[in-house]
Amino acid sequence: MTIVLFLVMIAAYGFGAFVALLGGRGPIGRWLVAAGAVIGAGAGCAFGAVVIISGQPFTLSIPELLPIAGGLALRLDPLGAFFLVVIGVGAIPAAIYGAGYTKAYENGRASLRLLGVMFNLFLLAMSLVTLADNVLTFLLMWEGMSLTSYFLVITESSEDGTLRAGNWYAAMTHAGLALLLAAFVLLMNGGAGAFADLRSSAGTLSPEARNLIFVLALLGFGSKAGIVPLHVWLPRAHPAAPSHVSALMSGVMIKLGVYGLLRVALDLLGGGPSWWGALVLGLGVASALLGVLYALMEHDLKRLLAYHSVENIGIIFIGLGAGLIFHSSHLMTLAALGFIGGLYHTINHASFKGLLFLGAGSVLHATGTRNMEEMGGLIKRMPWTALFFLVGSAAISALPPLNGFASEWLVFQSLLGGLNLPAPEIALTIPLAVGMLALTSGLAAACFVKAFGISFLAIPRSHEAENAHESPLSMRVGMMILALACVALGLAPFAVVPVLGGVLAGLGGLPDTRPVFTLDLSVHAPAGFAQISPTWIALGLLILLVLVPLVMRFMRVNRKLRVGDTWGCGRIGQTPRMEYTATSFAEPLRRVFAELYRPTKELSIDFHPESKYFVKSIKYSSRITPLFDRVLYDPLLRLVQRISRQVRRIQAGSLHLYLMYVAVILILLLIAARWF
């Protein structure tokens, strides 16, 4: 059964890539490419589901295929299977959406062939990362995933800045790979690279080596996941990539960083001292807060979403960090709760962030701009996209009864368990984490009121927005699947939580929590600490939404409705220029957090030559340089530039000089070989 699904997955992705290689143009070609991806992702999803439900890992070892370092070894355990399901949840809608979305590339703006091939290979590589069972396979697939996604980012390479974004992405992801390589070499400790061997030998490593491995892995996987301060590639690469690819990268690929961290820290190393957890927690809090704060200042819709990915990865890391802290204190049920919260948020983020990126893609498709200040009024022109985007916005703002709330609630509850910790230094940081997490979710709500309100509501702010049109059926279907996933995951935590408990059971000594989190219609934190039921809440809301108008009708409320001009203080001629803009919406928060943003502003006023009381034009521009660009990357880049300028002296372009270098090195080597 599982082997069939596995083969179908590989074959379908291969088929998709092959069709794309033949051209993949025209409606049929695009649909065939998408069909490959959909079937592959569907099979992967089913494959993962079967493994999770049966609890039986799937193994396949093909040493002959690659006769070094143990060859290609594949094994799918429930943890990997969960991430395979996440890939499926993100990939199916993205592929369907992509079939319609890529029509715009038919005019030669980008190579459909390259896009189709890379899209399918990217999905394949990601799926195989979750299956990898030795170091070689893991790193190969990891690199394959990075390379294919690099090509996907630079799809629209003719656009300004796309290649630059690609460079940032390639640099960050390869720096991460180098760290991972180091971590795995240390972990192997001269032995074999099979994960089973690593797991058994990890206990014999010295504490220093284990700490080093953990930090290297955290940084390596963190650079992929996009935690602060390694997040800088996200706001650059996501806007540049085609929207369905952004949805995949943001919704799914960065989650594999979470997978890698769990695999190494919890599974292979089997947990560690409590400062590991505290470090993860701290990075999570910083990512969540800085991510949402910079998102608030962003008026490029896709960059805004990219910053929100940083925020949500932060929330996931808070869950994982809490889990690791409890794990080190042997509070296993609480640890499981933290990890469950993190994993739940992982799949939730895959659904709502995927949905939001697809929505942003539809808007981009319809208006040709990513700048929110040029949108507005889209709710009337693209009602379906607006509805789906609204669902995504409410979900990411953690509003009940949607899915963001369910997972944030679990993360909160795991933090509230912090009072059971014996170590006061760490226990006292827990309240801070609670406060910051709450601030993050409040700011996220503010940010999505801005994102939805400014883009979709009120009057169109530009000609393009005025003439926007609804996107084609395929794109709407893609969004609808994810919107339904958001609702379903929000209503059914009682079903999801035990599944996640099963996924985690046995990892790093975690108990099977399925008996603790029972299968009634509510979710319990451990040992009856707290209990909610989003299902009943949703039902209550629904009943009231029906009941209130009915009662009003019964009470003979005046039901007349007249549509008139906007009042707006009786002014004549309501124009879009009078609307609140995204900049002005974010202004109060910019002032509140001015010490972080340090905005620079330029104001130039052009007066009328006759009188200073009449103004011809006012130009206002304000810029915010992100903190880490300012204090970390800019100095780093300057340093690299300075070094390269020095190096350039050596590289003078003269052939004789180069030959001389060769000769000098040769002589030096000979001398070294002879006398040392």
């Binding site: 009024g377 009337k380 609204l390 703002s397 953690a398 509003l399 009940p400 609630w409 909160f412 509230l416 226990a427 309240p431 609670v434 406060g435 997490l437 709450a438 601030l439 979710s441 409040g442 700011l443 709500a445 503010a446 009121v449 801005k450 309100g453 400014i454 509501l457 009120a458 009057i459 509510s522 009856g528 707290a530 209990q531 909610i532 039921s533 009943w536 809440i537 809301l541 939404l545 209130v548 409320v557 005046n558 039901r559 007349k560 409705l561 007249r562 549509v563 008139g564 001009d565 906007t566 009042w567 707006g568 309501q574 009078m578 609307e579 609140y580 974010a586 202004e587 109060p588 509140v592």
Partner: protein, 315 residues
């Protein structure tokens, strides 16, 4: 017995709906008296509701379906909260349906849609109100979370029924510093969340100083009635939380009719006392500049943080 529980839930919702306008009216009346005016009688808001439900709606031509559905969502989410908050009896039949975090996020759901509805007609003031409301709501959030944390520490649960019963069982907690600090922190947040002075002036007519009012400038008739009722209900909910989570005395723990009657009276008395405090505060303080509001909320955050740490240390 089970049936009685559900009947009580419904009775409690109706009670809250009936009490809410009266509470708002009472505060207004007391404020008028403190301004040496005769003022409208406390039951004035009921007349206003009746009138608004009888009027037609005039809607902006820029607004979309969101503008029309938002009042119902705001109203429904606020009523759902009253299903969770123990007003006269604890624990409620539906106590397991949601905890304090659910209460906070359901209220945020209402705020979210209200802010969107403010942006929908495309007026400058609506956007301004939405922007300010979300700013205040976001900055108030950490205080609420920490106050919840503080309560959960002493009660061992975030479910409201559990907190109340725990406190009734262990009255020494009531006067502990952690508890008092958390109360003060939550009181400041109540002022911010329900749009009272010094954060927002509910009686202002000057658009530039508005927060809540600016968002609903374009609403009329039955929609306005729903939104106003919901905001009064929100005030009642926050007052009930303040009184029943921190001073739960008088609340019924059984379905005994006599106990329930006492509980209703106790609730009304507690709401009146808090309403009196609000009226006095509003008479005394001036509205803060918008950019000093974060300072106030920062102070409340620190109080909540101290509340949590002190109950942690004393544990």
């Amino acid at each position: 017995m089970v049936i009685t529980g559900y009947v009580l839930e419904i009775a409690q919702v109706i009670l809250a709906l009936l009490l809410a306008p009266g509470l708002a009216g009472f505060v207004r009346w007391l404020k008028a008296r403190l301004q040496n005016r005769r003022g409208a009688p406390p039951w004035q808001p009921y007349f206003e509701l009746r009138k608004l439900f009888g009027k037609e709606v005039v809607m902006s031509n820029n607004a979309s379906w969101l503008f029309r559905i938002a009042p119902y969502i705001i109203f429904a989410s606020t009523i759902t909260v009253t299903l969770l908050v123990p007003m006269i009896v604890a624990p409620l039949a539906l106590d397991g349906m949601g905890d304090l975090l659910m209460v906070v996020y359901l209220l945020l759901l209402g705020t979210f849609f209200l802010a969107l509805a403010g942006l929908d007609p495309g007026t400058a003031f609506g956007g301004m109100g939405a922007s300010r409301e979300m700013t205040v709501a976001a900055i108030a959030e950490p205080t609420i979370a920490l106050a919840i944390f503080g309560l959960a520490l002493s009660a061992g649960s975030t479910n409201l029924g559990r907190i109340v019963t725990q406190e009734l069982a262990n009255t020494a907690v009531t006067l502990s510093p952690g508890h008092i600090l958390a109360f003060v922190a939550l009181f400041i947040v109540t002022l911010a969340e329900t749009g009272r002075l010094p954060v927002d002036n509910p009686a202002t007519h000057l658009e530039l100083t508005m927060i809540h009012e600016a968002m609903i400038l374009e609403y009329s008739g039955r929609y306005l009635a729903l939104i106003e009722w919901a905001s009064w209900l929100k005030l009642t909910i926050f007052f009930t939380l303040l009184s029943n989570l921190f001073v739960p005395w008088g609340i019924a723990t059984t379905f005994d009719p006599a106990a329930l009657a006492v509980a209703v009276i106790a609730l009304i008395v507690k709401l009146a006392v808090l309403g009196g405090i609000i009226a006095v505060v509003e008479t005394r303080v001036a509205k803060l500049r918008l950019f000093r509001v974060p300072e106030l909320l920062g102070a409340s955050f620190v109080l909540a943080l101290l509340a949590v740490t002190s109950s942690f240390v004393l544990k």
